[in-house]
Structures are given as structure tokens and as C-alpha cells.
């Protein structure tokens, strides 16, 4: 349990830390400090009143959506900064932010604790997150632009339940000017949020596994990051305990660095034979503290 307890504290700390500007709640506004240009490595809407950093997926869509306008005014901005942030995080640690830092991932784990019959998620649905990434985050903002040459943030507008939960609901509740403008889109997004919340109760991490474009990006780095999961084939007897305990249902002994893996390290604690471990910079960690 050592990793899971530690992970829970990381999740609580990052949820509070990435959303630490509390005075915004009194004003019904959002934080506007200069550090907000820094992309944080999790799906955390920058329109959350207390968010102190920028959502990388929102920033990526804005960057791609502005390319055609920028080129028309001879400005050479292509989203390199956001892509660089994603690359630095991904190449270092892959999908660790999903398992240890993301507030929306944390919320999904909390809802799953509600005692109900549980449902498995079909494997083929895990490929949908790449469709969301390619279509809603990259292609549509690039290709469909308004009369000024600006593209929209399609994922934010039509899907992102994190934005609805962290930003939409608080701002509508706190800001009467915004509250007066709600209409069909707000109802649509609330419907998406309610569907995902219901799914979170019955299945583990459904948004992460099927829809999250940020998880899709970081997952691509899992095989090519300095942090690597490793399996000792001499110790592993393929008993499948890691698979049964895995929140995203990865057969760790087959694909230890699967793009689905959120690197929660539950498999390390789950394995009865000590066959699963991790390396960072090709160095193995000290043995995990014994459970008290």
C-alpha cells in the first residue's frame, strides 16, 4: 500500500496546488497572474476560478486554431511552446501525471469507490481517445476557422467534462453575468459530465481510458520515456494478479509500458513475486517500504 497512500497525497496536493488561487471564488472571476501562461501537465481547465496554470490541451487547441491567422499577419507561432511542454513531461515520465497528479483522474477514483456492481470497459473503446485527439484537438481547430482566421477549441467546447466541473459550474454559480448567458451548450456539457460521472461509479477511470486527449499524448511516450516499468521474466509466473488489480486493465507482464498505463504502480504492490518494478534513468528504486 505504500505507493497508493503516497499517490493519494500527491493527488490531493496537486488538486489543491494547481487550483490554489482561492480569492477568485469571492469575485466570481478567474486568476489572471502572469504564471498562468505556464502549462501544467494535467487536464485542469484554466477557466476554473482558482486555476493557477494553463491547461495544455486548451492551450494546444488555441495555438493550432490561431496558426492560420498568425500566418496571415506574418506571425510565426505554431504551438511549439505547448508541444515542448508536453514533450518534456512525456519524455521524462510518460503518463505518470495521469496516475499521480491529474485532479480529474483523482475525481474518477473517488466516484469509483461508491459501492455498486462494476463494469469492464471494452478494449476497443480505448482507441477512441486517439480519435478525440486527432479530430477535436488537432484537425478541427486547424481546419475550420471563422472570418478572422481563428479556429475554435472543439474539445473544450463539445466534450471536456473537466472544464464543465471545474469551470462551468463554479462560474455559473458565482457570476450572474455568465449565469444569464447559459443555454443549449451548457445543458449539452452538463449532460456529458453527468454521463461520465455515472460511468465513473461503475467503471474505473472511464474518461482516462476512452476519451482524454492528454492521456493519449502522454501514453504515446510511455514506451519512450526515461521512466520505464520493468518485469522480471524469471520471477513472473503470469498469474494475472497485476491485471486483475490494474485500474486500466493492462497485462503488465505482456506490455509493461502500454499506452493505457497510468503508472499508478499498483501492479508493483500487487505482484506477490516481486516481478514488477520501475526504472528511472535506468536505475531501479530501493525496495518499497514494507506494509505496516
Amino acid at each position: 500500500m505504500a505507493y497508493q497512500k503516497r499517490r493519494r497525497w500527491f493527488q490531493i496536493g496537486s488538486a489543491l496546488g494547481f487550483n490554489s488561487y482561492l480569492p477568485a471564488w469571492l469575485k466570481g472571476q478567474i486568476f489572471q497572474g502572469s504564471i498562468k501562461g505556464a502549462c501544467i501537465p494535467v487536464l485542469n481547465c484554466y477557466s476554473c476560478p482558482s486555476a493557477i496554470g494553463a491547461c495544455p490541451i486548451g492551450s494546444l487547441q488555441n495555438s493550432l486554431g490561431s496558426i492560420r491567422f498568425n500566418l496571415s499577419v506574418a506571425q510565426h507561432q505554431f504551438g511549439l511552446y505547448v508541444l515542448g511542454i508536453l514533450g518534456v513531461v512525456g519524455s521524462l515520465i510518460g503518463r505518470i501525471p495521469c496516475g499521480w497528479l491529474c485532479p480529474f483522474g483523482f475525481i474518477q477514483e473517488l466516484f469509483y469507490k461508491i459501492s455498486t456492481p462494476k463494469l469492464q470497459i471494452p478494449k476497443f473503446l480505448s482507441y477512441f481517445r486517439y480519435v478525440v485527439l486527432a479530430l477535436m484537438v488537432i484537425l478541427l481547430p486547424l481546419l475550420i476557422v471563422d472570418e478572422f482566421g481563428y479556429g475554435e477549441t472543439w474539445f473544450c467546447k463539445w466534450i471536456c467534462p473537466a472544464g464543465t466541473l471545474e469551470a462551468g459550474i463554479p462560474l455559473v454559480a458565482l457570476n450572474s453575468g455568465i449565469r444569464g448567458q447559459i443555454g443549449f451548450m451548457f445543458s449539452w456539457k452538463m449532460g456529458i459530465l453527468v454521463l461520465f460521472i455515472a460511468w465513473m461509479i461503475f467503471s474505473q477511470r472511464p474518461f482516462c481510458r476512452t476519451t482524454c486527449p492528454l492521456g493519449a499524448i502522454f501514453g504515446l511516450f510511455n514506451k519512450a520515456s526515461l521512466f520505464q516499468m520493468v518485469v522480471d521474466d524469471e520471477k513472473c509466473i503470469e498469474c494475472n494478479k497485476c491485471y486483475r488489480d490494474c485500474p486500466v486493465k493492462v497485462k503488465v507482464y505482456e506490455t509493461p509500458n502500454s499506452a493505457d498505463c497510468i503508472r499508478c504502480l499498483k501492479c508493483i504492490e500487487s505482484c506477490l513475486y516481486g516481478a514488477v518494478n520501475y526504472e528511472f534513468l535506468r536505475k531501479k528504486p530501493l525496495p518499497a517500504p514494507a506494509e505496516k
Binding site: Q29, I30, F31, Q32, S34, K36, G37, A38, C39, C45, Y46, S47, G53, A54, G58, S59, N62, S63, S66, Q75, H76, Q77, F78, G79, L80, Y81, V82, L83, G84, I85, L86, G87, V88, G90, S91, L92, E152, T153, C156, K157, G163, T164, A167, G168, L171, V172, I178, Q181, I182, G183, M185, F186, S187, W188, K189, M190, F221, S225, L226, R282
Partner: protein, 44 residues
Amino acid sequence: MRRKLPVILFVASLILIVVGIRLGEFKAALEKAITICLNCIGIG
């Protein structure tokens, strides 16, 4: 090559960050982040 790939990606990403900041992309990201995103909250 496979062992060096993470390092290559890391260095390339750092270069992208530096180039992006020099092109003014941090300021552009900041301008968007400090403006209430009506799309994100279901108003736009």
C-alpha cells in the same frame, strides 16, 4: 537508438519550448489563459 530516444525527445522538447517562448507563444498562451473561456464553460 532506443535507449537514447527519451533523451533525444527531451532535448528536442526543451528546444521547442525555448523557440516557442522566443516567438512569443508564452505571452499568447497567457492571454488565452487569463480570459474566461466561454467554450470551456459551455457558453460559447
